[in-house]
């Protein structure tokens, strides 16, 4: 009955709501097109801040995610960046991971209540984003100091040498590895997607550091996994009648521009820039989630804190989360337009004419 009630309590749309969703959709799409994931963690709370019920926000976000991922993946496929085989192989284990993640969420909600469930999600955010984001940030620092292009990691090289049937060759990624080593990466991607709505924060680094794909190929291939997960999830939510198609198409209005712009941006930057944007967003979002934890601890009766402080921590948490996406977008656009200007200057100086080809 509650779900049915929520499904008919779709918000009234005004120009402010529409503009907000369009802009957040654009920025989320830009980041997704560039690093392969992102946007969902701002869109869902963003919609909820407009008064959209939580389940409708999650359902509508999911229904916008798969077409956005489809368009982004297609664009990057044309640039030769997507390893379709790797994406589909990992999508299979990701789908299983999503189901396990959902069951864990149900169990925690039943055992610890809604506050406990929120605390679990926030702790998961912190644990994964600080660990993985910190590792990627250290890698970026090392690469920018050395000035060299990223090489296949020692871990990935070792895993690739292990001949464990079935061995699969992923042509675009330039990798030959046992299926068994792709499964945990795909599974963890799905679990994280079910827990914090962004599986790519494990999927992309997993493909880079465990499977041995480049940042370009990993971030592009992640869009294939996102498409499969989003499509399946949308059918599930649609079956329950919880998708607000108006919100979906408004977000798509911005995100389909953003995702293609992000994809174009990847053709101008060095490999490590993708890692820089990803690690920056991950660490900022981790900080944002850390600010939200005291509220859940208070709700569970584990700490006492003034309501005023809780209110401001909640506002600060949302602000930092929105800032994370915005900072990512600024880095992407800045790097892209700087590289475009340098390209134009170089061509002018060399006196080369260039006939624009469709790309």
């Amino acid at each position: 009955m509650d779900l049915v009630q929520q499904s008919i309590n779709f918000i009234d749309l005004n120009w402010m709501n529409v503009s907000f969703l369009f802009i957040v959709g654009f920025i989320g799409g830009l980041v997704s097109g560039f690093i392969g994931s992102g946007g969902a963690f701002v869109l869902t709370p963003g919609m909820m801040s407009l008064g959209v019920p939580a389940t409708v926000a999650v359902a509508s976000n999911m229904c916008h995610k798969f077409p956005k991922a489809l368009v982004g993946a297609y664009k990057r496929f044309r640039y030769g960046q997507v390893d379709l085989k790797l994406g589909l192989v990992m999508a299979v284990s990701a789908v299983v991971g999503v189901q396990v993640g959902i069951q864990i969420q149900y169990w925690i909600k039943a055992t610890l209540g809604p506050a406990g469930s929120n605390l679990y999600v926030s702790v998961a955010f912190l644990a994964v984003l600080i660990t993985v984001g910190g590792y990627v940030a250290r890698d970026v620092k090392r690469l920018s100091k050395s000035g060299k292009e990223a090489a296949v990691t020692a871990l990935a090289s070792r895993l690739q040498k292990i001949e464990l049937w079935p061995m699969i060759t992923f042509k675009t990624a330039g990798v030959r590895i046992s299926l068994w080593f792709t499964i945990p990466v795909g599974f963890a991607t799905g679990m994280l997607a079910a827990t914090i709505a962004v599986g790519g924060f494990i999927g992309v680094p997993g493909m880079i550091y465990m499977v041995g794909a480049s940042s370009l190929v990993a971030s592009a291939t992640e869009l294939v996994i996102a498409f499969v997960m989003g499509f399946g999830g949308s059918l599930n939510w649609g079956f329950n009648g919880l998708i607000d198609i108006r919100l979906v198409v408004i977000i798509l209005a911005g995100s389909l521009f953003g995702v293609q712009l992000g994809a174009i941006g990847t053709t101008y930057v060095k490999d490590y820039m993708i890692k820089l944007v990803m690690s920056t967003i991950m660490l900022m979002v981790a900080f944002s989630r850390g600010l939200a934890i005291p509220a859940y601890l208070k709700q569970m009766g584990l700490i006492t804190l003034d309501d005023g402080i809780i209110y401001w921590l909640d506002k600060a948490s949302f602000f930092v989360m929105a800032a994370a996406l915005t900072v990512g977008a600024v880095i992407i656009l800045g790097a892209m337009f700087k590289a475009r200007a340098a390209e134009k200057r170089a061509e002018k100086e060399s006196g080369e004419g260039y006939t624009l080809m469709k790309a």
Binding site: C63, G238, L256
Partner: protein, 105 residues
Amino acid sequence: MPQVKSTQKKKLLKTVLLAAATVGIYTALFANASTVTTFYTKGGLYAALPVLTAFAFSIIHGSFASQCLETLGITASHSTQKSVAANKQKQKVTQKDQRPRLHAN
């Protein structure tokens, strides 16, 4: 020079047509918002409706967005465009029909 102008005109025309299609689908949806919402939230097999709508919007609006960016001159880097063109050429060459032919003298 005339060739470049004609290519630009064609791009602009394509952009305008796709813009019209995009405006059309958005208008159609929002003009019938309450009917759409009623059917799209029925659940069950009606789940196909929002999913197919999202696909349709991604094709039409996605094409418009792509064309719009291209018309504004925001395209992939020239090195990427060159390698995409080179790969296409390579595929054309490798797909050449190699079957033996009978020639009458």
